[in-house]
C-alpha cells in the first residue's frame, strides 16, 4: 500500500529560498519523469518523515499535483537526521521500474557457528519490478552458508515478477574466517614517514636545519 503525501507548488527556487522553506517546516521536492515538465514542489517535513519511516517507496501525491510517484532520492543533512530535499519520479502502476532494495539476512549460517564471519558484500541490489510489487526488503537465507561459501545475486530469491538488474555473478554475502590482528605492539618500523622528493641522506640534515 502506498502512502499519500500532500505537496504544495514551490514558485521560487535556489539555495536561500530552500533554506527559508526548511525553516518553515517544509522540505523542497522536485517531480519529473515521463517526458513531462519538471515541477518544483514542497512538502511538510513531518509528512515526508512518516513516509520514510513506513519504508514506502511509492507515494500518492495530493494537493498541487495528483499523481503516483517514486521516491528516487533523498538528501540528508550532515548528521543524517533531517531530510533536505526529495526527488520524485512519475510512475504508472503498470510500468516496470528499477529500484534499489536493501538485503536482509535471515537465519543463522553454519559457517558462523564454525567460527566464520558473515560479510554482507552488497547491502542492497537493484531490481526491476512494477511499483505495486516493490518489496521493503529482500530476505537472503543464510541457513546453508558455510565457511568459504558465498551467496551470489542470482542465488537470491526475488519476489514474484521481479528481476535482478545487478549482475547475477556479483557476490552478495560471503562467510570467511577473519584473521584478527593481535593487540600487542607491532615491531617498530620507521619512526617517521618518508619525505617525498628528498633522498635518504638529506633527511637528517634537513630535519636538523628545520629544527
Amino acid at each position: 500500500m502506498s502512502d499519500s503525501l500532500e505537496v504544495v507548488a514551490r514558485p521560487t527556487t535556489g539555495t536561500r529560498e530552500s533554506r527559508r522553506l526548511r525553516r518553515q517546516g517544509f522540505v523542497p521536492a522536485v517531480l519529473y519523469g515521463h517526458g513531462e515538465k519538471c515541477v518544483d514542489l514542497a512538502t511538510r517535513r513531518e509528512a515526508l518523515e512518516a513516509v520514510i519511516r513506513h519504508g514506502g517507496r511509492i507515494v500518492e501525491l495530493k494537493g498541487a499535483v495528483k499523481t503516483s510517484a517514486l521516491v528516487r532520492d533523498l538528501q540528508w543533512d550532515t548528521y543524517g537526521v533531517q531530510p533536505l530535499h526529495v526527488d520524485l519520479v512519475r510512475v504508472d502502476k503498470t510500468e516496470r521500474i528499477k529500484v534499489r532494495v536493501p538485503l536482509d539476512l535471515r537465519g543463522e549460517a553454519p559457517g558462523h557457528r564454525a567460527g566464520g564471519t558473515v560479510n554482507m558484500v552488497l547491502h542492497e541490489i537493484e531490481i526491476e519490478c512494477t511499483p505495486d510489487t516493490i518489496p521493503e526488503k529482500i530476505h537472503v537465507h543464510v541457513g546453508k552458508l558455510d565457511v568459504g561459501g558465498m551467496i551470489k545475486v542470482h542465488d537470491i530469491e526475488l519476489p514474484a515478477g521481479a528481476k535482478a538488474v545487478t549482475d547475477g555473478e556479483e557476490t552478495a554475502v560471503s562467510c570467511t574466517v577473519t584473521i584478527h590482528k593481535t593487540d600487542e605492539a607491532a615491531p617498530a618500523g620507521a619512526a617517521e614517514p618518508e619525505i617525498i622528493g628528498r633522498k635518504a641522506g638529506e633527511e637528517g640534515e634537513a630535519a636538523a636545519g628545520e629544527g
Binding site: 519504508g55 550532515t78 548528521y79 543524517g80 560479510n119 617498530a188 618500523g189 614517514p193 619525505i195 628545520e210
Partner: protein, 138 residues
C-alpha cells in the same frame, strides 16, 4: 606502531582551523552501525588505536570493525622549559582532523545490542562527543 602516513611531502603542517561540517565520510557505508562525531577535533593515532583495541576486545571474533579515519596530520610541539623562538617544534604525533558528522568507526555482522555496547565502550576513548548511528536505507 601507531598509524601514520608512509610518505609525506612535508614533515610539519600548520595548525589550521576546523570549519563547517563533514560533507564526506558522514554516512555508514561498510558496516551496519557506526560512531559519528558531533564535535570538531583532532583524533590522535594512539586514540584511534585505543578505540580499535577496545572494540576488538569486546567483539572477539564476532563481526567486523571498520576504522574510517586516518591520521594524515603531523602535530608538533616544543619541549618544556624552552625559550621562545628557535623555530617550529618537532613532530610529536599524527592526528586525524575530524569535522562534525564524520563517521569514525563502523561495525558489521553483529546485533544492534552488541554494536551499541561495543561502540559505547569505544566512545569512552574519544576526546570528542560522538553518537551511535545506523545505516540508512534511503
Amino acid at each position: 606502531m601507531a598509524l601514520m602516513p608512509k610518505r609525506v611531502k612535508h614533515r610539519k603542517s600548520q595548525r589550521g582551523r576546523i570549519r563547517g561540517d563533514a560533507s564526506r565520510g558522514n554516512r555508514v557505508v561498510f558496516g551496519d552501525f557506526g560512531l559519528q562525531a558531533e564535535q570538531p577535533g583532532w583524533l590522535a593515532a594512539a586514540t584511534i588505536e585505543a578505540g580499535r583495541i577496545a572494540a576488538s576486545q569486546y567483539l572477539r571474533n564476532e563481526g567486523r570493525l571498520y576504522v574510517r579515519v586516518f591520521p594524515h596530520k603531523s602535530i608538533t610541539s616544543i619541549p618544556l622549559e624552552t625559550r621562545m623562538g628557535k623555530g617550529k617544534g618537532e613532530p610529536e604525533f599524527w592526528a586525524a582532523v575530524i569535522k562534525p558528522g564524520t563517521v569514525l568507526y563502523e561495525i558489521g555482522g553483529v546485533s544492534e545490542e552488541a554494536a551499541r555496547v561495543c561502540l559505547a565502550r569505544l566512545a569512552h576513548k574519544m576526546p570528542i562527543r560522538v553518537r551511535f548511528v545506523k545505516r540508512r536505507v534511503m
